[in-house]
């Protein structure tokens, strides 16, 4: 569908010339996210106020065109792809920020980069813990819409746990504030929680009121290398069982390490089949105590090498290695099917070994890394999609991985969301009655289906799955 000229003209009246673009160049630049798919929108707009968004949504309801919210475009499941054209609303210019140091609340525009918020609050001795590895190029709005999590989730939880309230433009154009600006609040349904993780299908977030906490004084980063997967998994279980709560507990498998090593030299031993990256934070005493304890647990579990990062540079290099992992995997194969499944922590060993069995059975390479501390593992099936046979085996392996995950009591997405790429699998996890409740919610808020159609639920009419 392409937008008829009169509608474009009406849109032109809502926005200043520099905040709206029809140029082929801009349309192309807003056609993709990190999934590698590309669908051209008809228009891109760069609002600076909720009112502009409201007028756009009202027009969309009148004229029936799709509206797609977009933050940093770093999504892994295609949430911001304009699969049926329409107007992309880029929040990149809504970057206001104000910090209430007395109440420990940040009031921010949804387009603010999460990393910018963190820098700002940390200068004040405060802390906004959610840290998807994409912090430096993803937005608060995108993080909320996907309920992003990161390495620190094991101790601090995910984005959800820091959202006190939101300013949202509903699909009908109404501008509302959900939630509270206080530490507690129970009046009415918790629409804030509903909007968190709604992938831009229930409303467009314009502002967020976020909870801050004091910044931990000290931290230490350890890394431990293992010659087999099972020992690493045992360490994770033991750490959890011993009630040590590290601030991050990341797992990287041997194939990933070898790949990332190519551009950040860490000197990690060869023969490594698993690496754990463990951080603890708190007071000096608590950091020292848990470091000693973790070291002991590693030593009891056949660790090949154990080190505490000695300086800022080593810490930075290790994190860089972890952060660049996901794109670096393309060195192995041109196509990566990336799934971020979660299992109960006690099932980690079964998951990791089960995944390797699937890889062997299907004859594809699967590399895994991720947030072991909360059972959230990024499973990457590496294939060449131009090789039809391999592509088929890849898809089968993904399907097997989901079945395995669900059989272990897990979920098929821990943080990346459903978007378009996981929509076909939704009904495996959710019962039909749950799905119809969800569709009902969508229908109440967006009866005409103009807001981000084609996401989460399979067809644009939202009636399948």
């Amino acid at each position: 569908m392409s937008l008829p000229p009169p509608i474009k003209k009406k849109l032109g009246r809502i926005f200043e010339p520099k905040s709206i673009s029809f140029s082929k160049e801009d349309l192309l630049c807003y056609s993709y996210d990190a999934t590698g798919e590309s669908h051209l929108p008809d228009v891109v707009v760069f609002p600076t106020t909720a009112e502009e968004i409201s007028l756009t949504l009202k027009l969309a309801n009148e004229s029936g065109f799709p509206v797609i919210p977009r933050g940093g475009g770093s999504g892994f499941t295609g949430g911001t792809l304009p699969v049926s054209g329409g107007v992309v609303i880029s929040t990149q210019r809504m970057t206001s920020i104000s910090i209430d140091q007395e109440n420990l609340v940040a009031d921010v525009g949804s387009g603010l980069l999460t990393g910018d918020l963190q820098d700002e609050v940390e200068e004040l001795g405060l802390f906004y813990p959610p840290d998807p590895t994409s912090v430096k190029f993803s937005t608060i709005g995108g993080n909320i819409a996907e309920n992003a999590g990161g390495p620190r989730a094991v101790k601090y939880g995910t984005t959800r746990d820091y959202v006190l309230g939101l300013e949202v433009v509903l699909p009908n154009g109404d501008i509302v504030r959900t939630g509270v600006k206080t530490a507690k609040g129970v009046v009415g349904y918790d629409l804030t929680r509903l909007l968190v993780g709604s992938e831009g299908t229930l409303g467009i977030i314009t502002k967020a009121f976020l909870r801050l906490i004091p910044k931990p004084k000290e931290k230490a980063l350890m890394y431990a290398v293992f010659g087999d997967l099972a020992s690493a998994a045992d360490v994770v279980s033991t750490i959890i069982r011993e009630k040590i709560t590290p601030s991050t507990l990341e797992f990287i498998d041997g194939a990933s390490i070898r790949c990332a090593e190519e551009y950040v030299s860490t000197g990690i031993k060869s023969g490594a089949e698993a690496v754990l990256l463990i951080e603890t934070d708190g007071t000096l005493k608590s950091v020292e105590d848990s470091t000693a304890l973790i070291k002991k647990i590693c030593q009891e579990n056949k660790v090949l090498e154990f080190r505490v990062a000695k300086d800022k540079k080593e810490i930075k290099d290790l994190w860089k290695l972890r952060k660049n992992l996901s794109p670096a995997l393309y060195k192995i194969k041109p196509t990566k099917i990336n799934e971020d499944i979660v299992v109960p922590r006690s099932m980690l060993t079964s998951l990791v070994t089960g995944v390797q069995e699937i890889a062997e059975a299907r004859g594809v390479l699967i590399v895994s890394f991720g947030h072991a501390g909360d059972g959230n593992i990024h499973v990457n099936v590496m294939i060449d999609k131009d090789d039809p046979d391999e592509a088929k085996r890849g898809a089968e392996a993904v399907s097997d991985v989901f079945d395995l995950t669900l059989s272990l009591g897990g979920t098929i997405s821990g943080e990346h969301g459903v978007g378009v790429t996981k929509a076909p699998y939704l009904s495996r996890e959710l019962s039909s009655s749950l799905l119809s409740v969800m569709r009902g919610i969508k229908d109440v808020l967006d009866p005409k289906g103009i807001l981000n159609p084609g996401k989460i639920f399979l067809s644009p009419s939202n009636k399948e799955n």
Binding site: S23, C29, Y30, G72, S90, Q92, K136, K331
Partner: protein
């Protein structure tokens, strides 16, 4: 079209993760995908795939121009996508299919014959400048503000030198120097910045090098290094300039070739090789030439082992890493070592490698964006409370002076911007 096709393989390496956007100076100012590396690569890829069928208009060229070629994206990309090279390639492809804009064409052609047209034109300009420029109250009276809005209102521009460096008698004397036992022979490449705008940096280089027991030879037939032409997509001119420079330095029996401009040293070291390395006629010569090139900061710190003289000087110095020195050449330690040995107190700034905003021709194509990029840099400088900013590139010096003039709060002293050699 063919020229675009060549870029396809590199562009296809991009997996659109977006990591690079976070370090891009222009993206961070405008927050628009088309002026970030990921968008630029997507545009180039589309153009390379579909040719003119991409349906692009004038925005394409504008987006390509709005890049400082700082190289930050390359450093951050886990796939090693060489975005600056893609952008240069795309600019060249545009020029080859659509021609260079008339004004830019004239400028680069004229640089081919220094001392003739360019010299003449610039000499006239040197006389006219008093009409164009308003005096500024700025630091050491050297600087003036442009009053013409088209060039950027309130912009501080450097004065053209009254006598260009290469025209000075004491410099002309160094065109030929007898070889002397035990004195290394070092060829000096002045570059346009030093020749036309900052002869004092050239003079400081002569002094620093000769003080350390080496001879400096300044071949008179040298021309522009070619980077401005190449950045604008005029690869042909850049190549011609490179050959002229090879010729100019050929006859002298030199141990090293140095320059006090980071952009030039990068051009002499690697861009020449890239331009002429596959050309059978010049291959061997260019390899010999480039292997001798050292940025002046490297030469002083390493080959000539500059030593701390033990005297203490007044003032706090901070250091700005020029993109062409730190990222492109990986030279970071040497200049810092020189500052520490110079007798000044040193304080590093936050994010010293952040681009100054001038490069890639951005200062000419979009002054407003360019100086906005410099804002953050200026803030980082100002928060060190340093009284002197040292760097190693005339381009950065021009831009930082302009920005500090603009962004230093009224009641604070505007830090002085110098070439690190001027501290020694």
């Amino acid at each position: 079209m063919e020229n675009f096709k060549k870029l396809l393989d590199e562009a296809k390496k991009c997996v659109r993760c977006g990591i690079c956007n976070s370090v891009c100076p222009t993206y961070n100012v405008l927050r628009k995908e088309s002026v970030g590396p990921r968008g630029r690569v997507a545009l180039i890829r589309e153009r390379a795939t579909t040719g003119d069928g991409a349906g692009f208009g004038k925005e394409f060229a504008i987006d390509l121009k709005a890049c400082t070629l700082c190289g930050s994206c390359l450093g951050s990309c886990p796939r090693d996508v060489d975005v600056p090279k893609l952008i240069l390639g795309a600019r060249t492809a545009v020029v080859e299919s659509e021609g260079l804009s008339v004004g830019a064409g004239l400028v680069f052609k004229n640089f081919l014959a220094p001392g003739k047209l360019a010299g003449l034109a610039l000499k006239t300009a040197s006389r006219l400048k008093r009409l164009l420029l308003k005096s500024s109250v700025g630091e050491n009276g050297l600087l003036r503000r442009f009053s013409l809005p088209i060039i950027g209102k309130g912009r501080l521009v450097p004065n053209l030198a009254d006598i260009f460096f290469l025209d000075r008698p004491e410099v002309k004397k160094l065109a030929r120097v007898e070889a002397k036992e035990g004195r290394p022979r070092i060829g000096f490449f002045a570059g346009c910045g030093i020749n036309y705008l900052m002869p004092e940096v050239g003079v400081a280089t002569i002094k620093a090098v000769t003080d350390l027991g080496a001879d400096l030879i300044i071949p008179s037939k040298q021309v522009c290094c070619g980077m401005p032409a190449l950045s604008a997509g005029d690869r042909k001119t850049a190549k011609e300039l490179a050959i002229k420079n090879l010729n100019a330095f050929e006859d002298e029996d030199l141990d090293y070739i140095t320059t006090s401009c980071a952009t030039c040293s990068n051009a002499l070291k690697s861009v020449f090789l890239e331009l002429l390395g596959d050309d059978p006629e010049h291959q061997e010569r260019v390899q010999r030439f480039t292997s001798k090139v050292r940025d002046v900061t490297e030469l002083l710190a390493n080959e000539l082992s500059y030593k701390d003289k033990g005297d203490k000087k007044e003032g706090l110095v901070t250091w700005h890493d020029p993109c062409h020195l730190s990222r492109y050449q990986g030279v970071r330690e040497e200049p810092r070592e020189l500052i520490l040995k110079s007798g000044y107190a040193f304080k590093g700034m936050k994010n010293p490698c952040k681009c100054c905003g001038l490069g890639g021709g951005l200062v000419f194509s979009d002054y407003e964006l360019s100086i906005e990029v410099t804002k953050k840099k200026a803030q980082n400088i100002l928060s060190t409370k340093a009284s002197i900013v040292a760097t190693a590139c005339p381009g950065c010096i021009v831009q930082l002076r302009d920005a500090l003039h603009r962004y230093t709060p009224k009641d604070e002293l505007i830090p002085k911007v110098v070439h690190v050699l001027e501290l020694l």
